[in-house]
Symmetry: C2
């Protein structure tokens, strides 16, 4: 598939300039651009610059608050609610992560609930923010459109509800896990559908429960949870903690952000941060993390299988590679965002 490579700086600046042209305040535009490209850099292209056209459509139709007053509510030394006031999801969640980090540094740990937010992209990007501070983190989110029924049902009441974790290490690459509780994220499905690639069996089924692999039929089917009823249960728990507990949208209250670009999504997320030295000396912890990582990496691969990976290892390699060689943008996305840039009469329209 045709794609072009651009530098991180150029793409970040491009996204910022697009958002600012839509009158997003400069600080939020900058944060959003950085976090979107951070998702691309981790290889999570479904949450990267690929999303810009849909954010632009929401900006055009008035779905975002351009001057949100992001407020901290019900604060305790170890918890808070961040109300995003319908600002850009990346700006809201980044603020919540910063709050969690500062509280965890002071008081050991912190759980921040988020409401009034929007689609914020890749959970791994936020989880990884605690690593330079030597903090463990957990992120949960209610997805922004329901693509899954309850286990044994057909009504779309559940989203992909992802969960992410980051764990500091010593010399080894830090552990970062970022996973939808569906077998595939809808972002991945959309990227595959856009490329016209057949979906692997197990990603989606149709309303009779038969495998759906045709990328053109994506809208007829629904996603499957990991581990059957287990993933359904975990998905519901995440929806309860990131949605119900934060007075954010979940279940039938979810607005499909792929169809409605006007009304607030009231997205909910959770961010939790914790100091490892609550439980053992930091250096000892990191040293043993390295040991457990190495014994896995150096263990015997199954015949015919490649080297054994740890969560986050590939993301780090991808990032190093992309920072050197450039971030790929597919021709389809490039067409869309160039058109937006030309319409906005931007100086840089990402011509080659």
């Amino acid at each position: 598939m045709e794609q072009l490579l651009f530098s991180v700086e150029r793409l970040e600046k491009f996204i910022s300039s697009v958002l600012e042209a839509y009158r997003v305040q400069a600080e939020h535009a900058h944060i959003c651009a950085t976090q979107m490209i951070a998702a691309d850099l981790r290889g999570m292209h479904g949450h990267g610059i690929y999303r810009l056209p849909s954010y632009c459509q929401r900006l055009e139709e008035g779905g975002y608050n351009l001057h949100p007053d992001i407020k901290i509510k019900r604060e305790t030394p170890v918890s808070a609610i961040v109300d995003g006031d319908n600002g850009l999801g990346q700006a809201v969640v980044t603020k919540a992560v910063e709050l969690a980090i500062s509280k965890a540094q002071k008081n050991g740990l912190a759980w921040i609930g988020i409401r009034g937010s929007n689609h914020a992209g890749a959970g791994g990007v936020y989880a990884a923010m605690t690593l330079p501070h030597d903090l463990i983190s957990m992120y949960m989110a209610v997805g922004n459109a329901n693509h899954m029924p309850p286990w044994g049902g057909v009504d779309l009441l559940l989203s992909t509800n992802p969960i992410a974790f980051a764990i500091p290490t010593g010399d080894e690459p830090p552990i970062v896990l970022d996973m939808a509780t569906t077998v595939a994220s809808y972002g991945k499905v959309k990227v595959a559908a856009q490329k016209g690639q057949e979906l692997p069996v197990g990603w989606m089924v149709d309303h009779s429960g038969n495998p759906l692999t045709d990328p053109k039929r994506v809208k007829e089917g629904f996603l499957l949870p990991i581990g059957g009823h287990k993933g359904y249960g975990l998905n519901f728990i995440i929806g309860s903690l990131a949605g119900v507990l934060n007075t954010a949208a979940v279940g039938s209250a979810i607005l499909d952000f792929n169809k409605d670009f006007k009304n607030p999504t009231n997205s909910g997320q959770v961010f939790f941060a914790m100091r490892p030295d609550l439980f053992r000396d930091l250096d000892d912890f990191k040293t043993e993390m390295d040991l457990r990582i190495r014994e896995i990496r150096n263990s015997t691969p199954m015949q015919g299988a490649g080297p054994i990976r740890l969560p986050g290892e590939m993301a780090l390699r991808r990032e190093q590679q992309m920072r050197e060689k450039g971030v790929p943008v597919t021709a389809v996305v490039l067409d869309q965002i160039r058109e937006i840039a030309r319409k906005l009469r931007l100086a840089d329209c990402l011509e080659a």
Copy 2:
């Protein structure tokens, strides 16, 4: 399969008397008996009275500390390490749950790390302990034998590492999720193997990656993670948080408690408790939980599928039924525990 039914009280008293005959202190024997039967009552028979013979063998071979000094270390208002001093797992974890509840009631939330513990049974039993206190909870544990390789590998470096959650509700049955991060728990595999039942495809594979379904070949195979690499990642995260972070055994440091009954297992668990009213009024939270539960339960089932369930719903029904009609004990288990009771010359040897 042949089984007999016994009252909850009789089984609890029976287990207590067995453990006390092995000189376990009365308080710990009582807690262990209660939590084992609580697992049976939730339908998690692999963690119920079924485990008694293996606990007895460990008691006989000196693998437990009969008079553990369960200590609280590195305490903060919202965290602590509980060192179980190699006591019975159920006694250690129950103490940690009580500590988490009291800290969460006072300070909003609490994360308790546990080390020096032992196999503690069903996570759902501990998670559910916070429900009468209107607290949300999360439990994680490193399993007590490695039955799974890293994704793409064949060396057994991972256990079933379960995670459990409990969420209070209003009029609806509380949400309790209790799941191994493997497709099947090894407890379930053992129960099936004991009954001579063929394993479903997807539970285990052999060392070449082929499905293993023969209950006689269980020891040759390994468990599969839910969602492939996702479940592997989640399993490793749980091992890091419940194992490495607590200075408890994980990875190659895991002693197979089905083979070694002499040496301390240094089991690790995590218990987290949190007040919902940190984020919204408790009654509003419970009311919306009920609403989200009902919209799922009342949604359309897939053709041919039974009614749609919520996590914990069946466990509650099973408990009500067993409290009324009795707790089933299979003939195989009954033979084993009757023999133990006769050897110990107990007054009640569970004769019919």
